[in-house]
């Protein structure tokens, strides 16, 4: 075992999958010699060469559209887009082609690619470099995966690469180097589509994902003694593992959902609606949502005031316990 941060863990996943399967390639802006702007692909170019680690021109639709062609042509492309804010240039290819090609071709052509990119705030980055708009990728035919720590980042990226379908893999950039975990050299393959109960509890269920897991766990720490909180890490946003959340809420009767991005039309709305389909009669108190505000992503000078933090999570937990 070795202690690794998320960047190192992702790098390990890429390296090992590239070693294991010669059809796995990496492409994106500056992923080659430069190793990616966050260094997730560091060392891969030196190890695997320019034919497996492709620096692309500055062209997101081109990256995703050509990656789809490569996938059809027999490769397993892991495409990086440099920042969340630039993924929208590739939206037409995602919505109109990548997500539908298995369906459109009646299973004849599949698109086993991974589209990975850093998302979210908290690193004092520039405009368009800190968005958390995860819901926009949740299209039929696509899977949306969001790890929360080094270990699940590694195992889920491995799973995403091996997945026969297109996976949008959002990396909480705030967690890239924020902490380390034991990440074994030995293979670990995550399960896409499965949420995880990361802390058992009996009084209230808190659901979150990505970078928000840290303030959530901190809040739960702070409330130790006061409340027994069950924490669910979503890990796959779409298709959502509603069963795991519902099972938890059936037990606790209370639900808090914590989301970084703006409130309207965000994933927390989907969690609420999907879970409510299952557990209406079990709820003992109003569901609380802790979310960003419905504004354009704040610039970095004031960013920390806007990002949900453990204090807000604590407050929400207390509120659902004493409605």
């Amino acid at each position: 075992m070795a202690k690794r941060n998320m960047v190192e863990a992702l790098n390990l996943a890429l390296r090992q999958e590239m070693e294991r399967d010669p059809s796995v390639i990496v492409l994106g802006q500056d992923v080659g010699i430069n190793g990616g702007v966050f260094r997730v692909t560091d060392g891969l170019h030196a190890r695997f060469g320019g034919d497996r680690v492709l620096d692309t021109p500055l062209v997101e639709s081109g990256i995703l559209g050509s990656a789809m062609g490569m996938a059809i042509g027999g490769l397993k492309p892991v495409a990086e887009i440099q920042f969340d804010g630039f993924t929208f240039n590739a939206m037409a290819q995602l919505e109109g082609n990548v997500s539908r090609y298995r369906s459109r071709s009646r299973g004849r052509w599949t698109v086993p690619l991974v589209l990975r990119f850093p998302y979210g705030g908290g690193v004092r980055a520039l405009e368009h470099h800190s968005e958390a708009r995860e819901a926009l990728y949740a299209l039929p035919g696509v899977k949306v995966v969001i790890p929360s720590g080094p270990r699940n980042a590694r195992s889920l990226l491995v799973a995403a690469i091996r997945d026969p379908d297109p996976v949008v893999f959002l990396e909480p950039k705030r967690s890239y180097r924020a902490f380390k975990e034991e990440v074994p050299d030995e293979e670990e393959v995550g399960v896409i589509g499965q949420a995880q109960v990361v802390r058992p509890g009996t009084d209230v269920t808190v659901v979150s994902w990505g970078a928000m897991m840290r303030p959530v766990l901190e809040a739960v720490e702070n409330l130790a003694g006061e409340a027994s909180v069950e924490v669910v890490d979503l890990l796959t946003l779409h298709p959502m593992d509603v069963a795991t959340i519902a099972t938890s809420v059936r037990k606790t009767g209370r639900l808090v959902v914590v989301q970084e991005g703006y409130r309207a039309f965000g994933p927390s709305s989907e969690v609420v609606a999907a879970v409510l389909d299952e557990v209406f009669w079990d709820l003992e108190a109003p569901i609380q949502r802790v979310t960003g505000y419905d504004v354009v992503t704040p610039y970095f000078a004031r960013e920390s005031l806007y990002l949900p933090d453990s204090a807000r999570v604590q407050q929400a937990i207390r509120k659902t316990l004493n409605p």
Partner: protein
Amino acid sequence: MPAVTTFTIPYLQVLDEHGRLDAKKDPRPSREVALRLYHGMVRAREVDDRLLKLQRQGRIGTFAPTTGQEASSCAPALNLTDRDWLVVSFREAPAQLMRGIPLFRIFLYNAGFEEGNEVPEGSRTLPLAVIVASQALHAVGIGQAMNLRGEKDAAVLVFLGDGGTSQGDFYEAINLAGVWQVPVVFVIQNNQWAISTPLARQTRAETLAQKAVAAGIPGIRVDGNDALAMFRATREALDRARSGGGPTVIEAVTYRMRMHTTADDPKRYRDEAEVEAWKAKDPIPRFRGYLEKRGWWDAAREEALVSEVRKEIDDSVKEFEAEAERLLREHPDASFDHLYAVPPAALKAQREEFLRRVRGEA
């Protein structure tokens, strides 16, 4: 730094609209190849006529006619080997048929069935692309996969329209094609119109072939109603691509003789005189003249071909209508197929609910 950098775009015509042959440029297809090409063109024209009838009778939905573009669609496709890939836009039925897509599938697609997009096992052909120009990037990706996997002696042929050259995806594709030197041949069907938009309002470029200059790759303008010129230009470009010479942009100058789709009424925006003028350039009689001059064709053969093709079409229509009826009855839940390799739990439940409801059990 040179004081001036210069670029040239050649124009290729072999057989002009009066049937005059430029013998020096004749690609000299074998009899068998020439007849295959002619068969494909005639068949495509007959299919187009039938589709129009079926549409008027309400037996299929709206579709995009191809009459007038048979040379520029069939000749490139004819040059493909089984190792090559074909990536089509939505108005390329002639190329699809040339490639061996079963005719009843084309009917099925135009009747609104997912199954119409099925490509025969083993055929390196993509389903048609509706999102204009998006397919150009897929072609580049396939070409790059060949490069990276060391696959030799194969190329990708991708079609798009004059309207498609306005889209970012097209330029991104040719630029990437240049950087990666992929074995991709882009054929632009310059049929002068994008629905109601004439070429002059699509771009100020005098030719569409010159778009290649932006990507630093070769571009050539071809008489798209000249089957021999299209045959020659695409063969040369595909050969170059297959032997590591990189991508080419081919502009096929042709004409959309019919409406954009059957939902469109061109009388609203274009002069019938223009259509009449282009009739004189029809690719089919022009190429027939060449075959006749070579002694490969005559009236009897023409008659036999047309009745053979019509018989085939009759049979395919029957096949398609039986299949359509069967699919609706036996397989209403087709949209639930092939969403993911393994359907998620929620989707399975939705499918069951759907089937109960459709079967009147809900």
